[in-house]
């Protein structure tokens, strides 16, 4: 399993000769098997950070190391869950779950897919096409697809952002359960402060492309947003983001 160490990471790009700084001077340590949430306003660079980490965009400066304890290792298997489910519309739920396993032995593939269909409660929908299922269901399939790929590091870019409050709560609970006993490192981006506290062992606050603060959340799972300590964390994070 793997963690990530980010040093002086920066990302700039140009729109019509105007330089835009998306990320600057990011220093961040993500331990192996930890669940880190990243919050910030829109435009704070959350998505860019994830896109660089999984190789969809090039960094402009800085270093990204992958770690195992104290050692630096070569780039592990990293994957990403996007804000939209991005399922292949021509494949059924079952085929979408196994989408990443192209060179896998068919028997092993079947076993893995069945396992994840079961795990995410999608068995009854396995023959449905993406346009026949709800948004929450589709995001569940997207999550299952990534879990089936079995990466060591999972990046999630507001995967629950487009869902209604009820579906969202259910999925938050499921994500806690899914990762509680799995050897995975997760970086979960959200703009929802409650979600960040509910899920993360550490909350990283991004602002204008830099890390403003990192707050370890010392609450046992499952967490309740009604508790007093939860409330205090929320206050602290909101104050940091609002800047007072």
């Amino acid at each position: 399993m793997a963690g990530i160490r980010i040093e002086n990471l920066a990302k700039t790009y140009y729109i019509k000769d105007r330089k835009i700084t998306a990320l600057s001077d990011i220093n961040l340590e993500v331990d192996d098997n930890s669940f880190v949430t990243v919050v910030g306003r829109s435009g704070s660079g959350k998505t860019t950070l994830l896109r660089i980490l999984c190789g969809l965009e090039e960094k402009s400066q800085g270093q990204i190391y992958y770690t195992k304890g104290e050692d630096i290792i070569s780039k592990p298997k990293i994957s990403m869950v996007f804000q939209e489910p991005r399922l292949m519309p021509w494949l059924t739920v079952e085929e979408n779950i196994g989408f990443s396993l192209i060179n896998e032995n068919p028997k092993v593939k079947k076993r893995k897919v069945d396992l994840h269909l079961e795990l995410l409660g999608l068995k009854a929908f396995k023959d449905a096409y993406p346009n026949q299922i709800s948004g929450g269901m589709a995001q569940r399939v997207a999550l299952g697809r990534t879990l089936c790929y079995d990466p060591e590091i999972i990046l999630m870019d507001e995967p629950l952002g487009a869902l209604d409050a009820f579906t969202r709560q259910n999925l938050q609970r499921e994500i806690v359960n899914l990762f509680a006993n799995r050897q995975k490192t997760v970086i979960f981006v959200t703009h929802d402060v409650d979600e960040a506290i509910l899920l993360g062992q550490k909350v990283v606050i991004l602002e204008k492309g830099s890390v403003k603060k990192q707050i370890p959340i010392e609450l046992p799972y499952p967490r309740s947003p009604e508790s007093e300590r939860f409330f205090k964390y929320r206050q602290e994070i909101l104050r940091t983001i609002m800047g007072n």
Partner: protein, 260 residues
């Protein structure tokens, strides 16, 4: 029930036309030398079918369409995929493509006859010209319009270029490809009849042309009805064969109607 109703509705107008045709020509309002009455058409059709003449001409037209269409697909599909993937190629080809696209295949028939004679090859060349562009342009469209967000899914799963092509680009282009093939099939059918009208020794177009020289309007009408019905049947067959392939894509089904 609704399906039967639909069929009934669609039969209403043809039935009305036949009825008016029948009544007017038998009442002596229409000149039966120019437009023979329906019963005469049926009789002629029966004779042509019985003698095997119609089957012979239909067979040679169908053979040309399918052979020419197959060749057109073999040429158009890989070219479109290649240009779709290697975009800079488009800059080199754009003028030629736009030029040839706007020349109707029928305009090339005299040249093709000079080059290839009046045998099979000139007909097949016409069909290739007619079917190439719809297949080519729609396939190209499908390949270049592949959703980049789906391609990024391939990226985050570590897909190779080959994997991305076969697992994402190609399947997402299939509705476009089938639309192109369907259009191409229709175009090649029309172009073929044109070619057979100009120079041929068999085929439905030839049968019509021959009937004109013999002053047999009944045979001409049988020929026209055969062309229309066969074209429709071919399209229906092709659609039912490929509908399943692109059933997930409602856009594809829509764009076909828009194109037509």
């Amino acid at each position: 029930m609704t399906k039967a109703k639909k069929v009934l509705k669609s039969l209403f107008l043809p039935a009305a036309i036949f009825a008016i045709w029948y009544l007017t020509s038998n009442a002596g309002i229409l000149n039966t030398y120019i437009i023979p009455p329906p019963q005469e058409i049926f009789e002629t059709a029966a004779v042509l079918i019985k003698k095997g003449t119609l089957a012979k001409h239909v067979a040679s037209s169908l053979y040309r369409v399918f052979f020419g269409f197959l060749l057109a697909f073999i040429l158009a599909f890989p070219t479109a995929v290649l240009i779709g993937i290697i975009r800079p190629l488009e800059d080199y080809l754009i003028l030629i493509i736009e030029f040839v696209r706007h020349v109707p295949p029928i305009a090339c028939i005299p040249m093709l006859i000079l080059w290839l004679g009046i045998g099979e090859s000139s007909k097949i060349a016409v069909i290739i010209l007619a079917a190439f562009f719809p297949i080519f342009l729609n396939t190209l469209n499908g390949v270049i319009n592949c959703d980049y967000r789906l391609l990024e899914v391939g990226d985050v799963f570590g897909f190779s270029v080959k994997d991305k092509f076969f697992k994402i680009i190609l399947p997402s282009a299939i509705p476009y490809v089938t639309v192109g093939m369907r259009l191409g099939l229709g175009y090649s059918w029309r172009a073929l009849i044109g070619a057979e009208l100009i120079a041929a020794s068999s085929g439905i177009g030839y049968m019509i042309m021959d009937a004109e020289q013999l002053s047999r309007p009944d045979i001409i009408i049988v020929g026209i009805i055969t062309i229309g019905m066969l074209g429709y049947v071919i399209d229906l067959l092709f659609f039912s064969l490929t509908a399943k392939l692109s059933s997930w894509n409602k856009e594809g089904a829509k764009s076909w109607q828009e194109l037509e």
